[in-house]
Structures are given as C-alpha cells and as structure tokens.
Subunit: 399 residues, 4 copies
C-alpha cells in the first residue's frame, strides 16, 4: 500500500463536510437552553460563523439551512445565496421544518388530517424550489411523524400517505437535485415513528423515485445496532445519500462526533474507503453533514471539533491496508484481519493532518487558530448588544 | 383467599395518587409544544384542575407543585395551601427546580462552581421550608446534574458535592418531612448523570440521613432493567420512598401509565401487595405520584386515564393468591407460580372498580363523567380568552 | 360490531399454531442444560408429544422439524410423514441446520470458504426436497451467519453470497412451497449478523424470488423496537411469511409467549386482524410457529402454555372494535382510539375460549387436562428407562 | 507532567493481568462449539498455556482456576500450585461453579431448595479452603441465580438467602483472602437475576463482611450504562475488588478486550489513574482478570491480544495530564477537559510499549513472538493425538 501520509492527504483532499446553520445558534434540551453570548441570532450571523469555520478548516464550503428558522417570510433566497457566496461559502442542503407548526400535532405528510398533509407537501415543494434558486443540491427530509400511543393511527395508512407525498415531491426535483430521506427510531414520537429504521427509509425512497436516497444520522439507531453494516448495505444498493454526523451514548444525544465511540465512526469510514477501493478508487457521492446540538460547548468550538474529528477518523480509515485485509479475510484469519483495522485506528495522524493543512495554507490546528482569532469574543460582544437592542430574552426558557 | 371484590375494594380504599401541577399545563418535547386551549395558565388553574380530577376519582387528594413554575416571587404559600384546601385538596410534594436557571449550566449541587452549588442548596432549603408552611410531607428531588462529555468533570468530586449538600439539606427537614431522591440514567446529561441508578440514589440518601428515601420513576431505567426487582430490594431495605408514574418505550417518554407495558406496572404493585401481606397486611408508606408529560392527549383526560389505570392494575395485583403463590414457589413449580400472577392480571376488574366508585358516591367511569361535565370546554373557552388578554403566544415555540 | 363470543370463536376457528420438535427435548443455555425425565429422546417421542398437544388443544396440527436433529441419515422421510399422519398430525416447516457443523465456523452460505457455502446450499436444497416428500409447505431458514470482530469479513461480499445462494435455492421450490427468511440482530455472531433486521431479510427474500417471505421471530429485535409496526409494513408489502413465537426481556431469551409483555403480542395480532378486516375478512396466509427453548418449565406444559396464551391474545385482539377505532383515528382522538385496544385487551376471554373448546369436544383447560392425563409421568418413566438403556448421560453438560 | 515514555513504563511496571484457565480450552455458544486442535484438554495444558503467555508478555503471573473444570475429584491442590510454580506462574483467583450441577436448576445459594443452598455454600467454603492451600488471594463469585418467569420465586427471600450464605462464607476467609462478588443483568436468568447490578453486589458484599468487594465484568452491564462511573463510585467507596476483562456489543458477548469500544476501556483506566494520582500515586489494590470466551480466534492468540490491548489502553490512560484536566474542569472548560482525554487516547503508544518490553527482556510484539515460537502448532499436534487416544469427540456438539 502507498505511503501513509499520501493516503491521508489524498483522503482529505476530497472530504467535504457541511455545517448546519442551526448549529451556530442557541439550542437546548426540553429542560432548558443555556445561552451563549456568541450564539448566532439570525441568518447573517450563521453565514458568518459558517464562513469562519470554512476559512479555518478549508473543508466546509457549504452550510445547511433550516427553512423555517433561516428564511423568514419575504427573504429573497437568491440574495441569501449571493451573500453566502460573498463570504466564500454556498448554501448546502435545504431542510424543511415539518414538526413545529401546530398543524403538525398528529404528523405532517403522515397526519390523518388532509390539511396537515397538504401543508407539509406544499412546504416540501417550496423547499425544493428554494434549493433550485439557491443552487443547493440536496433536500434533506426528516419527519417527526409517528404516533405516541397504541391505536392512535393506522400504521399502514400512514405508510401510504408517506409514499404518495414523497412520490409527488420527487416529481418537482430538478435533475441536479437529490432527496435525502432520514430515519429515526423515536422522539418525538414515542410509540411508533413512521420512518423508524433504514429499511423504512429505503422502501419509501425507492417508491419516491430514483433521486431519493437514504440519509444516515449516526445518532438515530437502536442501541447496539451496527451502523457500518447498514452503510455497507446502502452502498451496495446504491442508496446511501448522506450522513448527519454526531455521537450519542443513550438516545439522540446530539453530541460532537466521536466523543463517545470514535472507533465506530472509524469503521463507518472504513466501509466507504473499502467500497471505493474495490471500485478502483471511485468514491460514491455522499453528502457529509453535521447535525449536532451541543448546548454546553461553545458553538463554533464544537463545530470545529467535529470537523477535525471527522477528518482525523476519515484519515485513519484511509490507512487500512485493503490488500492485507482481503488476504486475511480470504484465509479466515480473524486476528490478522482485525489488526488491519486496529493498526490504522491506532496510528496517530495528528502531524500528517497538520502538514496537509499547512500545505493548503491553513492553520495546523483550527481550534487554536479560532481561539487566537478573537472571533468568538468579538461576536459575543456584538451579539449580546444586538440581543439587548432586539429585546431577546436570554434568561431561562422552558419547552 | 378472600372474595375478589372485597380484595379490590380494600386495596382501593387506601390507594392515593398525587397529581402534578405541571401535568395540567402545556408541555412538549425539544421539538416543540402543541397548545391546548384548556391547558392551565397559572397555579389557580392547576389547583382547579387537580380538584376536578379529585372530585371525579376520589383518590387524588394532593397536588404536587413545582416551585419555580407555581410559586412566583411574592406568592404567599400559606394562602396557596388555603386555596387548595378550599377546593378540597392539599399541597403535596414540593419539587425544586434545579436545572433551568442559567447558573445550572454545569449542574446544581454537583456543579464545579461554588456559586451554583450554593444557589441550589439554598433553593432546596427554601423548598423544605415551603413544605413546612404548606403542610406538605415530601420534598422530591430530581437532579439534571451530570456531564455531557468524557473528562468534563470529576465524577468522584461531584459525588462528594452531592453527599455534602443533601446532608445539609436533610438537617432542615422537620420530623414530619421526608426527602425523596430520584434517579435517572440520562437526559439532559448525556455522558454521565450524577444519580444515574437506584444504587446511586440509595447511597446518597443513606448518607443524607434517615428521612431520605429513594424515588422510583417508572420511566427512568435502562432498557430491559427489572424495575419490580429494584422495588423489592428497596422495600426490603426500607428505602422505598415513592413513585413517579408514567410509561415509556424508549427513553424517558413520559407517556400515560400502562400505555406501553401494563404487565410491568402490575408486577411492581404485586411486589408491594406481597410485601404487605407478609407483614400481616401492613402497607409501607409510599408516595404514589404521577409525573407524565403527554403533549398530545387532552391534559385532564390523560391525568384521569393514568389514575384509572393505576387503580386497575393495583386492583388486579391485589387479586394474586399469595398463599397459592408461596406454595408453588416452595415446590419450585414455575408454571403454577406464574399462573398466580397471570390469573390475577387477566381478571377483568372494570365492574368491581365501578362498584367501588359507586359506593363512594363517585361516577362509575371518571373519564365519561369528565366529558359529560363540560369542564374542559368551559376551561378552554375561558383560558383561551385569558391567554389572549395576557398576550401569551400560543403559536409555535422551539426549545 | 358483532357479538364478542362469536368474534372469539370465529377467530379461533382459523388459528393454527405449529409446535417445534426441538421444543419437546432437553435444551439449555451455554451454561448448561437441566434434564427432564419426560423430555423427548428421539423423533418418535417428539411426534408423540406433538400429537398429544394437538389432541389437547385442537389447534396444533403440524410439527416443525429440525433436519439435523430429527432426520438421522438413512431415515425415510415419507415414513416419518406417515407416522405423523397416523398420530393425527402432519410434518410442518422444515428447518435446516446451518450452524452446528464444524464447517460453518465462519458461516454457512455467507462463509468466505466455498466448501462451506456449497455444503450449506446443498443442505438447503435437501431440505426443500425433504419438504416435498413430507408434504410440508414451508422451508424455514435461520442463519447464524455473521462475524464476531470488526474486519473479520467483507460485509458486502457476504451479502452477495446470500443473495446468490437463496436465489439458487428458490429455484428448487415446488409451486406449493414457500421459503421463510428469518432475521436476528445478534447471537451467535457478536459483531455483525448477515441478516440482522427485517430490512435485510426483506431485500434478500425479494432477490431470492416470489415464494420467499420474511419470518418474524418475536424475540429477535433490538430493545424497544416496535415489532407490530414491522408486521404492519410486511403485511402491506405482502412479505409477511410467518412467526416464531416466544417472549424475551433482554436478548433472545426464548421464554414462553406473553410471559414478559403480553400487550405487545396482542398488538401484533391486532395488526393482523385489522389488515384482514380492511380486506373484508380475508386473512393473509401466515405460518404461526412456536420457537421457544424454556429449559426450566416442563416441556409439554410450556408448549401448552404458549399455545393457550397465543389463543387468548389472538382472541382478545379479535375483540377490537375496528369501526370505532377508525372513527377515533379519523378524528385524531388519541384517548378513544387507544381505549379501543385497551378495552379488548382487558376483556377476560377465559370463559369464551373454554366454551369454544367444549364445543369442539376439547377439554376446557388443556393444561389441567394434560396434568390429569398422566402423560408426562408415563413418558418420564419410560424415557428415563430408555435413556439408561441407551447410555445417555443425564448429568451435567457444558457447551 | 512527566515524560510520556516514563509515564507509560511506570504504569506498565505495576500492571498485572490474570488469565483464566477456561480461556485456553474450547468454548462456544449455545449453538455449538468450534474445536481447535491446540485447545487445552486438561489442567496441565492450561497451566502450560498460561505460563507460555506469561513468558511472552511478562505481566500475567497468575492463572484463574475454575474449580469444577480444573480440580477433578482427588486432585491435590498443593501439587497443582507447585506445578504452576515450576512453570513460573501461580494459582490466581478461585472460581466456584454454582450453575452447572442439576441441583442448581432453580439457583445455588438463592434456590428455594435448602439442599441446593447447602451444596452451594459447602462448595464456596471448599473453594475458600482451596485458595488457602494454593496460596490464592481471591475467591471470585459469579452466580447464575435468578428466575426466568414472573412469580417464579420471592425476590426478597432470595436476597435474604444470599445475604446469609455470603456472610457465612466470609467467616471462612483467611486474613489474606478477599471475596469478589460479581453482578450481571441477565443470562442464564431471563426474568430477574439475583445480583443484577453493581448496587446489588455492593449491598450484598457489605453485608457479607469487610473482605468482600465488588467485581466488575466489563461485559455485564445494561446497554449504554456508564461503566467508568460505576468504577469511580466503587473506588470512592473502597469497594472495587477487581475486573473481568472482555468486550461486547449486545449482551455478554465475551469478545476480546477493546475489540468493540476501546475508548470505553481507556476511560475506565483513566478513572483508576486519576484516583491514584489524587492519592499521591498510591494505586488501589485491584484484581485485573480476563474472562473471555472467544470461540473463533485461536485461544492463545486471543489471550495475548487482550493482554496487549489492556496494556495499550492502560498506558494511554496513564498519559492524561491530570493537572491540565483539573484546571480545565475547575474552569468548566468542557472542550479542553475532553481534549486531555482525547489527546492521550490518540497517542500511539506502540513504540513506547515495545521499548518497555525490550527493556524487560521480552519480545517487542508478543503476538508475533508467539507465532514464531511454533507453540500452537506443537500443542495442536500433540493434543489432537491425545484427544484421539482419550476418545474425546471433536465433532459437533449442541447445548
């Protein structure tokens, strides 16, 4: 196999990670929200923060937007795209909000109420159009739909409603757009979630049309479920559309990537490198996106941390000696096959990544560079003042 | 064994369930809150709703209060207690809020910051005093304390801070008061929760003092953990202080009791009846409290449903033939021993409970009686109007 | 809705449950096996026991066989079928053994070794032929295949091996036969199981051919996974082939049905009744089979208990008022919709089932009838003696 | 902080790991056992293998024994100890077998049958005496006791039986001996396990006496439970007696250490290093033992792999900068505190450990040294032949 440093640099060259606009503003749990002075207030702040992270890391050229929170009525999406462009970034995936409006009490496209379904579908179609105007590739669908109590609704009827809505929405996609269909076992639906696992997303996407793919959120699985196996199956079926990066220990904890189980993330990346290696180095098109909601770590630090951790684990996974692995597997030599992975995982890639960054004109350590930049302090002072002017409460809030 | 109907009536005669003030107002998940016109706005509404539920069920004579949300600064607690009394109920357990204030970002009594710890302890002591003024017996402590990332804080140092704070707080209890120490595996702390399981609550309560007991929330356990065994151990150690009733399928879902796994609740009640039977019919003092946060079911209907389900499962568990069970266990006859439980669980107790209610001058079916009463419609109309007058937004909110 | 007793009787009339030959012999955990004198020694014993259970319950006309354990080399399958027929039962599903031979150390059809794959495929084809000779309808495939350590084998290569093998096997099915493809999250594979969830079984069965369907084992799911939702999806996709009945609390515990969570089994049956009701009373063809491995309860008692529990929960689920349910769902009335299920579940169906049995000339309580029959004592005495004659050790054994 | 290499070497100098005799012989799952020619047949083989592993690693001076499997009736324990000594190792913890005998069908010291309880207690006392004769320090108690069905036995009665038995057994300990009390949530008991969690082991050990401590098996926890927190609590209460090392993904999978989640094991070691650092470098007395049952990897390779992984993660954890950590924690700087752990975990310690080994006259890579030694081939040839002579079946077996 080739030189490790080269492998790492080649891997990083093509590895792009999208940061989420909502990851720059205050978030919380149902028990409350802890405010940070430097948290973004509006879309301009979010774009500025995303551009800052991209300047520091060099690998975050797009920012995911959340339509309800980012595009206030009357906003000109084309202007937003231009604004982003002027900051050196672009608008990434478009995320409809299908859970917050009072109309969605019993679901969005899965609701028993036609009005709610119509509203949801119209919003999805609006988002598709918004994507076309902003030059965004992916429309990323997460549904909170489901039921909270046995008997609450007809599971198969809800399934049919989903199939019908996504098929219709798919018809509005331009040729360049893709539709990502996310799954999640539970929360906020606590009895049954309409798209609860990869199999449900897979079947629903298949019925929607050829531009619909599955979105894997690393925090949306049953305890002990093998995520890298799901990734391998989706790759094999040409149905892996993208990722939402985060980590968790219990439920959908939305922690920074690799903070709880870095080896698992490494193994996911390994499946992707291996798949590409078998195809002569051709990597599949995958949207790598961050979706975390760390309410304690400073927002921008947390974002940089996840980006750097993703690079680090992606780089480590690029070090697996595929030929040696294949040979060990063919002999049924479990210990040697496993050691191919462990050796790569145990390699300290800090310096190789720093060298890659330096070669790109980036700071060797983006977190330190961020801290040295004074960005957070400046934003904190300015935004705290603006918050006061706008009369935005920063004291306790409760869901 | 005695007549089933008699067993049921005797069981219900002494079974009291406390409803929570916060269960009458709008709640939600971190993804939003769905508003109900009839949801309580202020403490007066909550007391009225609790009194209504007690009138219908005859077994909910107390209402748990949540200090931060219920006792606005300047409130006269004695007046609140009188108000409750005038409605036919009394103030039940006092619940401090140790998670919402910005000071508690890194914890309350477990925080690394002395100021946060002092504020938390002072609030607990205030709650103890409030309990004395309102004639409440239990101070019910739930801590959101913990850490979200490995290394964030010193686990043993946090343990010591808890031990010290609860010991000091215990010193402020009157002889009539008890301190209930709740545990919860996770949320909102996602790496480590300071009181994560019954063992941690047990040890902490033991060190606090003799009036401190463990509070078991039926939704606060690891998946597949055997709750009735924990209940049996706590009974045996004289450390079971009370329950928070709700049900769940995944995490702390806060659904209405018995909606997902009624047999489990039955088995918990069975352990209590069995314990009492072995002591000649002397029941331990246990605070039975509801803690649910159903954001879709109508609030009062959900409350009545949980109360009725608790009665139903408590009544069924009272039907277990303890002598037959003991005999089967002594012979190691697994099938017959299990059938003692299944037979009781399978008995339809609807009519026996209806008869008990009728004998008490209550409606046979509290839910139907509530619907027939027009209470919800009336409250809905009045509260919607008041909300408008108060300028309370009822549209989308996000945590 | 119709008369409850009629609904129950109509439901029971068409409800057939297959008992497994291996459920009559000694089984255990990896920590040991506890011997029962009355446990079956050979296929004759198993057929006799299965016939006894069918005589008592009237609803177990077939017995599942496990090829390796039941059909010793040289056995004439046609003779076995005749033997069963003479006892009043028939041979049910054929279960290959693809895990026990030393060749299967790294898997059967998923093994990296061609010889193992060939041996496995040949065995499956043999089983299909065996099914044709014995007049059995279903070939039931459970694979222990998977890997124990990261890197051990190529997940996608294993997937392809499965697809190829099952497609080839499918070609050998007669028109009357079906192929059931089971899934299981883990054990004995502890890193990755080749068919780990319903989605994997679904895709694999689809690629195998139109006579391949998914087999749902009620104990083979991730903790908290919603089994009835999977059942509803499979029904909707016309891919539900059958069930393996058992219950569990933690992993694949193989306890008797409904012993831990009866309400869950009820909800599964509810999905089936509801599906049939929507189709004008036409029930889908589903193989209901028992697969339990209770190593403590007396074997035949445990079997009867599961059969009776299945009938009981199937009967309760038949009592759901579908029209009322539909109406409540259409209005979004969660409480009323849920009560449709709870009311049915809470109905005591003991007497209605006893009446159905009496009308069929069966004992009202099969368990009591079994005990009164002296069958177990007689079998115990005879088999203990035979074991001694055969020199079969009945003392401790360890896996 | 001190030089990393020094920290690593100092850490390794005092780190001893006990290998288990049963880890050298064929094991399996309930679905079968895959035979290895080089697997140990008898105690002599096991001692030889353990001595071989100690020669290669220099840190495994003791071997845990399993009384039932290792000490056949008539064995002279003193002779066994001398034999071990002549091979350069010593007898480590003594493990009674309290689950395999037919008498233990319903439990050992927790059984409802007095005869079973007496037999179990007598066996424990024999083991204590055996430990005294062999110069072993720890008697390590794992109980399979529990129940499989609701109602099967009285949970509190079983608790009392445990308390009484362990107290009596404790009275037989010499001053040098300790009693380790293990816990496990389930398997082979599937409804309720008598010592199911650390709290139950803790209370039971406390009541037994001052020489009883808790044994933490890294595979015996609920999914998502935080093991390092339990370790921290036990350290703080002076109740941590030892570990059983293995890894798992789902249940008690008994995989080699760190094969699934190495960061978790690192965090456990971190708690121990931190505890010692706070006490001025005084490490608590902890028995580090391996308990794995890998039935696919070559036995000795798997043992060496776990030993090396334990050293590697213990060494990494020794690199945490405790002063920097403390400072970050005191400031509530979550990111910096976490980075103290991540930096240490990401350090490649391969060379530093190799240097430590070389300095001790050991091979730099024990696994390679083992393979180069030809030990397995030689043992395989000899043992295969001996197996044949002894008439030991090596073909399929089923529990």
């Amino acid at each position: 196999m080739s030189n490790p440093k080269e492998s790492i640099h080649r891997a990083l060259d093509s590895f792009r990670i999208e940061t989420p606009s909502w990851g720059y503003s205050d978030t919380g749990t149902r028990f409350g929200k802890f405010h940070q002075p430097a948290a973004a207030i509006d879309l301009d702040d979010k774009l500025a923060d995303a551009a800052h992270v991209h300047r520091l890391t060099g690998c975050c050229p797009t920012v995911a937007t959340h339509v309800l929170w980012d595009f206030a009525p009357g906003t000109d999406p084309a202007a937003v795209a231009r604004k982003a462009g002027s900051l050196g970034i672009a608008i990434g995936s478009i995320n409809p909000n299908l859970f917050q409006d009072q109309a969605y009490k019993l679901g969005s496209v899965g609701s028993p109420f036609e009005a709610a379904r119509d509203q949801a579908l119209a919003h999805i179609i609006d988002c598709i159009k918004l994507g076309q105007v902003t030059g965004s590739k992916a429309v990323s669908l997460w549904f909170a739909d489901g039921t909270n109590y046995p008997g609450q609704d007809n599971i198969r009827a809800r399934k049919h409603r989903f199939e019908s809505a996504l098929k219709e929405a798919h018809g509005h996609l331009s040729q360049d757009q893709i539709m990502l269909v996310e799954y999640k076992p539970f929360e906020p639906a606590f009895y049954q979630t309409d798209l609860a696992d990869w199999g449900m997303s897979f079947l629903t996407a298949k019925k929607a049309g050829p531009q619909a793919k599955v979105l894997v959120d690393t925090g949306h699985h049953y305890l002990s479920q093998n995520i890298e196996q799901i990734v391998a199956w989706l790759l094999d079926e040409d149905m892996l559309g993208g990722f939402h990066f985060n980590d968790r220990r219990y439920a959908d904890d939305d922690l920074t990537l690799g903070s709880i189980d870095p080896y698992q993330i490494f193994r996911i990346f390994h499946e992707i490198h291996l798949f590409a290696w078998e195809r002569g180095g051709v990597y599949p098109e995958i949207e790598y996106m961050i979706d975390q909601s760390h309410n304690l770590k400073p927002k921008i630090e947390a974002m940089i941390q996840t980006v750097c951790t993703a690079q680090e684990l992606y780089a480590k996974a690029a070090l697996v000696d595929h030929e040696a692995l294949l040979a060990a597997q063919a002999k049924g030599d479990i210990v040697d096959a496993e050691l191919c992975l462990k050796k790569a995982f145990n390699t300290d890639v800090t310096e190789a990544i720093a060298a890659w960054r330096t070669a790109k004109g980036l700071a060797a350590d983006p977190l330190l560079a961020h801290r040295a930049s004074g960005y957070a302090e400046k934003a904190g002072a300015e935004r705290a003042k603006r918050r006061q002017e706008l009369g935005i409460a920063t004291e306790h809030s409760y869901a």
